[in-house]
Symmetry: C2
Subunit: 321 residues, 2 copies
Amino acid sequence: MARTARAYTNIALIKYWGKKDKALKLPWTSSLSLTLDKFYTDTKSTIIDNDHDVVYLNDELLDDSSSLRIRNYLDVVRKMYGFNDHLQINSTNHVPLSAGFASSASGFAALAASVNETMNLNLSNKEISILARNGSGSATRSIYGGFVEWIAGNSNETSFAEPIDENPDIDIVLLSVVISEAEKSISSTKGMELSVKTSPFYSNWSTLVASEIIKIKQAIANKDLQQIGEIAEHNALSMHALTLSAQPPYTYFAPETIRIIQIVKTLRQQGFLAYVTIDAGPNVKIICSKQSVKAVKDYLDKNVQNVSTFEAHIGKGIQYF
Amino acid sequence: MARTARAYTNIALIKYWGKKDKALKLPWTSSLSLTLDKFYTDTKSTIIDNDHDVVYLNDELLDDSSSLRIRNYLDVVRKMYGFNDHLQINSTNHVPLSAGFASSASGFAALAASVNETMNLNLSNKEISILARNGSGSATRSIYGGFVEWIAGNSNETSFAEPIDENPDIDIVLLSVVISEAEKSISSTKGMELSVKTSPFYSNWSTLVASEIIKIKQAIANKDLQQIGEIAEHNALSMHALTLSAQPPYTYFAPETIRIIQIVKTLRQQGFLAYVTIDAGPNVKIICSKQSVKAVKDYLDKNVQNVSTFEAHIGKGIQYF
């Protein structure tokens, strides 16, 4: 009986923003993330005597439309590894939407690892990372713990993640600040496409990412949390600059996003270590030190309504049990 | 007795963002504006038998520190035109800060025109535009009415404004939406400097401005308000993209700025003609048609607290009386 695979979510400190190959999910630039504890997906797969795949999410059977992305992904996996069996997938998601994290990173990482187990593919972590990428770009990085780089590459075989430091002795806390915002924003896939095709600044984004990856790896080696925070904040806001300069312009920022950015700046002026990073949505993640996180949470509680915070720390790579 | 000079404020549709010569206020790029009615400065100057200049603003004598910028400017003017007389300046400002406009554009345009009158310099409008630029970059454009281009140039003599259409038959209304935001933001001079020196996107900004000036002039010639609005909104938000990508990143946006951007997008989806433009502060200006302005104002009144709106239309160039 195959083991269950567990994969954790990750937060990009140097953002993945733009695909150069949509089908293979090859990115225009490398990216770099921190794998987080607490938010994860558990996935088990079983060979079934059936002509199509069956997917259970949180113990509920998904209908054809809800399971389409996963079934299409399994078609890709079958083609890549030359088997014909259909699978039953049982997945349990511990990445609540309400915590401000997407579940595709941990979801496709756990699924790739689980299929490797069940089908006895004997894949290396590098190969599991490639397999996960074919499901979702950010899943590439969730194979490893700690700080992880996704090397852009230029083909299916050369685009995969590598661990930078799986067990870093760095005093880092990630505080997810979740904003109650009804407005449905543009999907990250659509947002990336608009930025790549229409932002006059996109060509400079590629150059910027290359230099910031070198800098943040040095900061990680130096265990310099302030440097890590500065680089991550600049990279995230530069990604959002691409959306403002797209044609037509758009933004993922909600009014409260700006409020949280202002607060983090105020807290820094008061001497607390805190930097923002923001993905394709209104929520803000705050990079803190263990020392500063309580002050940051207290300040938010006192000064902002309608937000909730979730604390995460350095997480591990794929686990099996 | 010299006449009083009146100059109106202007709103940049293609922004001036970055100086290549601080002393001469030579910009890195050309820019393009609409001169507005309603908000203006009236200035009279008189030769006085005194060894320093005296400045009255709104009938109050300015102290040495408050009048410093104007006195320094008059030193520059004396040097440029080789006279030694000192002047008494009487200026009345009809550009309330509360309406969301800076008064330096109309202020230095009226002052330049007034000194030309009083000292019988017999300057052409082009020369007055150059003289105004030495006081404040945006004042360069307030010499003319309607749509005006400030040609960047590369020396004191080659950087001046030119009228594109002083009396355009275009159905355009500018709605200034003023946000009550206590937070003091970074000055435009400082903001420009940071963007030029540190944004990885600044080199592409210059290319973008050059192409958007050509496009918006075509849209003005075609009396195509929708095109004018689209180009102006994209240009303004791209300017703000430069602040987000500066090192360290910063933003002029307040939470309410985002709220107004969202509202303008919603109104567009409902079929109303409305586009935003934003300068170095939290306030938003909305480019409307005469037909859409009432709906836009009503929507803002109903949906946003703590904002006030001011309506402006196409204004004239320098007037004397």
